[in-house]
Symmetry: C2
């Protein structure tokens, strides 16, 4: 307890800006000097550990867990070995049901086996998971938690899949960041061998699985130090083996089953201590101490949030912010959800707590409360009944973050404010506006607590235009060549290629726990100039922000082509405006439309995160590493583009007054149906989060014919029919997006060049006269 | 509230023996005069309703739900129509996943669709159930709840499958008897149309699905009165239809999913009231009133049990027994588990309650409590927080009945006793002896509360020897030709054909809620004489009980062939002993080994439940109905057996002292391994329930080579090799069980008759000299 107070004290100091936290929970993400780091996402971090500790890896791809299986498959193809020097057998099955069955069989043969999944994939594994747990099998399953499809499918993240598996008897262990995911993966593989309870280790899909951060690596010495050879030998000896024959998988009748089921109970009772022991051992080896529940906050907190997953990082950051302002608040990060350890929970929860908000990232319609809330209520009722706590605190419960909905510090503060009220709502939602059931708490959309020493940049690109790849390379350069911390988060639309991507990059001297979008950026880069016409890309521009636009329009003409809203924003926020014709630089260097190297150079030139010479040096290294296997010409072309980039970068003077008489065009025509005006339009403008609950049909029923209003108009070139060349092959109708309905039928000023199916000419982008 | 007190008063009166309950919960099973009744099991009762109310029935068989699909399939083959005059499409898919998908598709096409499943079958349906619920689809799924396989498979009943589906968003509705299952099935099909929340309606596998009782039928007028035509029309109009095109099954992104998911919340909030409305409408039509929670007990109860399913019937019976003795106890029967209605729960729970035991028929390893306990705790914490209740009662939780383990009145009393202690255990198990974790409550194994006016009979047969069929016919005769109530419960071993079956029959003037084995019977019938040698078949014989033994041994020789233990028991309990060579009667009548008609006649002759002449008349009718389609000869043979039966029935005088020097042989030889001695032996003797938790390996691992100790030795005939006839065809080795290891190699006294493969001679059963 004393130890915890000391750690809390350090948190509070950190919150006051005096020191970086270096205690229990804070240890995650803090990097000790001299330790080997890598900048990657949780999928890669976890796959790396799972691969080193497995002999059989049965996979079936499902977003957002696919990358774990793909990494394992690629590494096996490269003949990379595991900790014991053998190459794991990686086999892709016909479905997740097959993967679970293959793993079950491999485990029964005494192998170390693992798999990766999410969402419906996890549902297909349930029958085997019940058996794997019932047979007390050492096994670790890694889940990039994803929404289970209900009224609609969603590839994004929440805990509805994991919660559907909580009846199986697997232990459930949650990670909130790539660092934690890596560390808890290693701890899980060790603990399951020691405890014989299989573990479902999960982390939030996309937010954690795809967020790139700097992770201090767990090396082989640590893994060797974690795995108990005796426990591994015992696992081998439990194998079904004709030399020591036993039967497993029998059928039992009412006379025997109940007793036999209870016979496993001591293994569950022991599990939290076994896990805590593995966590302590991990701390000895790495300095990073995790516990079944980690508390972050004021040692005498009165209001506490209990939650798990990536949202707890945001709550952690927010709690420190509030403590520095004198508030008595805290956060219990649930790592071990099942088996739920009352003793460890009470040890983590300050005795001063008066009210608790339990946040669940799932919705179980019809339940009095979501799963974590039910467990916390039961735990505290038990604690009072047993005399371990004098009275029941007020307990309220809320849903947040379904399908990767944002959880921001402003929302966390709204929850803590609700806890402080005389009569708080016992059930709520946070992150949406619920004008149907009135469940939602309101929050201050302007509130932002990010520190000034964090560099933040937002990039608007097009799916598959190279923006995301460029940004990933940028983060790796900064993460691996500076002592600072880096975070890259990427918003993809499930429509994938050709839809808008938004990259959020943060760099700073401290661990970054901001698991939400950037609200105020010092740099906004618009790689896809169409975005200027579609959405308010400057909403996040801080006063004095640098704005970079990739545009084929000459620097001296750009200002006049900007819509009035963009001009107004640039002037009001005193932005500096830079332009580059990235397409031209890329094309001249023989890269076609791949502008990533060009834009990356511009970013370093403008952001000044590194001295530009050093940055260019690292980009060159990166180019050589990345493209070497594609041949010298590709490397040379990329280096040429890099060299030409900065010369093509021009600052455009922002005038004192706006001059444009052209406004951003509405993304849907005024003739569009009501639903398209009310709903589709906001989704297209990137403002879907503003839509209230009442905007949506309750059963997922959607009107037909709305996708025509989503025409993405992303072709760089437009075909012009040349009657004198036409052989009526009709190919043009297949590749031409120019005349698809609803065509805006404005005159195209570009001169004709060739027949549609053979040759097309560059389209002048962002010029109103050619926009469709 | 006043109404409830009045009902309770009637319960208490009933408990005091003055009147039969006729209120809320008691209505189930009480039969009004003139109403049409049928004596059948819940599977048939539910299938009948589901068939009448469906147009598409997609099925896949799984024990114990198979019969529902099989009935539907047979009725469709007979071209039976549904309520609207069409024959439902019954289609068997490749698995339960396919059945769920087919149903999902049919529902989206506007059809009324249903399916039936259990256990792993339900797990395979989960992905579709999430979608069916998310799309607010009117649908009712009937589940004969069965254990999910863990350390071992089990075909028997508990709620682990249903609880694994509680995250899907389906409403969960529980029935405790065939009457309730029929009635709630009808209510469910109506309520789901009105509410647009799909319903998972479940009842306990085997205990309810296979228990035969007298059920007051729901006729078509009732069904027509329940189904709201406007709700049905609305279901049709929600169909995907090219004339009114909409999309369902889209993909949503983080901007929209959370809001859209919350948009369904009002449907869940409204559901309990909609269901209660359907229940009220049902009561208007039938007189049987159900509520989301039904309370049975003292109006000022201090100790209350909350539970669902068939066990609640036993608790109901026990509560009435205790109230008549002045105890303030009660039972809340949970019918609507999800959505959990706080208002309805509080309306059912007496305000005087001081302590509550929540009984869950499932185990979720690692949870602080099983699902119903968590919900009840949350409900009561809410009620206190909102001021609806002044203080939190003491709440304890226990597991019972996993895989059809018995729950008896003695166990219910043990739970209520625990509730009365100063410091009750907060978690417990009941029904087993847990010497590993010490979780189990002890109960009085001698305690029995069954009334004297209930006729009880126990039958020991062999799987497929006709005993169960005969008993089913017997119950139907009594149920359908007398004003009384009847119950038949059948214990099958999952080893099926050839293993011991035990039939438990009860007949009485009141509804029978005894959902447990008969502990004291007035009649014990041993159809398989081997049972005398294997287990203590007379354990349940009341003083003065009638004992009927089917044996090929002549009446004057029988006494001397009985083992000493059987003689002692017959004498000590002052039993009357009757014998018949049922095999001989059956064989002479051309029925081969089918002794069912013969034994049925003997039962009626001895039990005197009906005048014997009337009973024989009904058996004749039953024979003619059952066998008519097999031809006149089969009918004639059965009638001949019936006529000959009573003449072959002989009473054997039970002497004053036992004379046998032969004891029951140990079922396993003394040379058997330790595990076989400690565990297998008790399982074979039918005493597996006595085995403590420590007897079982915690992970389901079983020694090999134990089945040889289970040799069932059930062949009626044994082959004797006749060297002078042998042509060395070797067929004998395929059909001969005589020399299989371990052969007990005792001399066979019977003379040789023919070659093994062609002709065999009757084996003299139960004679020690020929037992193997």
């Amino acid at each position: 307890m004393a130890e915890r107070f000391a750690e809390d004290e350090r948190f509070a100091q950190d919150a006051a800006g005096r020191a970086d936290p270096a205690g229990t929970a804070a240890a995650a993400q803090s990097v000790e000097p001299g330790r080997r780091c890598k900048t990657f996402d949780a999928n890669e971090a976890v796959a790396r550990i799972a691969y080193r500790l497995s002999e059989v890896i049965a996979i079936y791809p499902i977003t957002p867990a696919s990358a774990m299986g793909e990494h394992a498959d690629a590494w096996a193809a490269e003949q990379r070995t595991n900790l014991w020097g053998t190459v794991p057998d990686v086999v892709e099955m016909q479905s997740e049901a097959g993967a679970a069955g293959a793993v079950h069989g491999a485990l029964q043969a005494g192998a170390l086996a693992t798999t990766f999944t999410a969402s419906q994939g996890l549902l297909l594994m349930l029958p085997d998971l019940f058996k794997i747990a019932g047979e007390l099998t050492a096994f670790c399953l890694h889940v990039a938690a994803r929404t289970v499809a209900t009224h609609a499918l969603s590839i994004f993240g929440d805990h509805s899949d994991v919660m559907a598996a909580r009846t199986t008897g697997l232990a459930l262990l949650a990670s909130g960041s790539a660092q934690e995911a890596q560390d808890l993966a290693a701890i899980s593989h060790a603990a399951t061998l020691a405890a014989r309870i299989p573990i479902l280790h999960f982390f939030d899909g996309f937010r954690t699985s795809h967020e790139i951060t700097k992770v201090e690596l767990v090396d082989d010495d640590v893994l060797r130090g974690l795995i108990d050879p005796a426990a591994l030998r015992a696992h081998r000896e439990r194998a079904l083996d004709p030399d020591r024959p036993v039967i497993r998988g029998t059928s039992q009748n009412p006379d025997a089953f109940f007793q036999a089921r209870e016979a496993a109970e001591p293994f569950y009772a022991a599990f939290p201590a076994v896990l805590d022991h593995a966590m302590a051992r991990f701390a000895e080896l790495t300095g990073r101490r995790y516990r079944p529940f980690d508390y972050v906050g004021h040692p005498e907190a009165e209001r506490v949030i209990v939650m798990m997953g990536s949202g707890a990082e945001c709550a952690h950051e927010t709690a420190l912010h509030l403590i520095a302002r004198g508030e008595r608040v805290g956060v219990v990060k649930v790592r071990l959800f099942r088996p739920f350890s009352l003793a460890h929970f009470l040890a983590a929860l300050p005795p001063t707590v008066r009210s608790i908000a339990v946040l669940d990232r799932t919705k179980e319609p019809g339940s009095l409360g979501e799963p974590l809330l039910l467990d916390v209520t039961q735990a505290l009722v038990e604690a009072v009944a047993s005399g371990e706590r004098p009275a029941l605190p007020r307990i309220i419960g809320g849903r947040y973050g379904l399908s990767s909905k944002e959880l921001t510090p402003a929302m966390v503060i709204a929850v803590l404010d609700e806890l402080g009220r005389a009569a708080p709502r016992r059930r709520f939602t946070i992150g949406i506006r619920d004008d149907v059931s009135g469940s939602s708490l309101t929050w201050d959309p302007e509130l932002d607590i990010e520190r000034d020493d964090v560099s933040r940049a937002v990039f608007f690109g097009l799916g598959s235009d190279g923006t995301v790849s460029a940004n990933k390379a940028t983060i790796k350069i900064i993460g691996e060549h500076t002592p600072g911390f880096a975070q890259g988060h990427f918003e993809y639309d499930s429509k994938k290629s050709g839809s808008t991507t938004i990259s959020y990059l943060r760099f700073g001297p401290r661990p970054i726990r901001s698991t939400y979008r950037i609200r105020r950026a010092q740099l906004i880069a618009i790689h896809d100039p169409e975005a200027l016409e579609r959405r308010d890309v400057l909403a996040a521009a801080m006063p004095g922000a640098t704005v970079l636009v990739n545009t084929p329009i000459a620097p001296d003409r750009v200002w006049d082509t900007l819509p009035r809203e963009v001009q107004d924003a640039l002037i009001a926020r005193r932005c500096r405006l830079f332009v580059i014709d990235g397409y031209r630089v890329a094309e001249r260097a023989g890269l076609g439309r791949r502008i990533n190297i060009v834009m990356q150079a511009c970013f370093f030139a403008l952001s000044k995160v590194l001295p530009i010479a050093e940055a260019l040096h690292h980009i060159r290294d990166s180019v050589e590493q990345t493209f070497r296997r594609r041949g010298a010409e590709v490397v040379a072309n990329n280096l040429a583009a890099l060299d030409a980039a900065l010369a093509a970068l021009h600052e455009v003077t922002v005038p004192a007054v706006a001059s444009s008489e052209r406004h951003r065009l509405p993304v849907v025509p005024p003739t569009a149906p009501d639903f398209v005006q009310r709903v589709t339009r906001l989704l297209l403008e990137g403002r879907g989060d503003d839509l209230p609950v009442s905007a949506f049909p309750p059963d997922g029923t959607w009107p037909t014919g709305t996708s025509k209003f989503e025409k993405r108009a992303i072709a760089l070139d437009i075909p012009i029919w040349q009657p004198e060349l036409c052989i009526q092959c009709n190919f043009c109708s297949m590749i031409c997006g120019a005349c698809s309905s609803p065509c805006r039928s404005r005159p195209r000023t570009a001169p004709a060049a060739a027949c549609a199916s053979r040759s097309v000419r560059p389209r002048t982008r962002s010029s109103p006269s050619t926009r469709r």
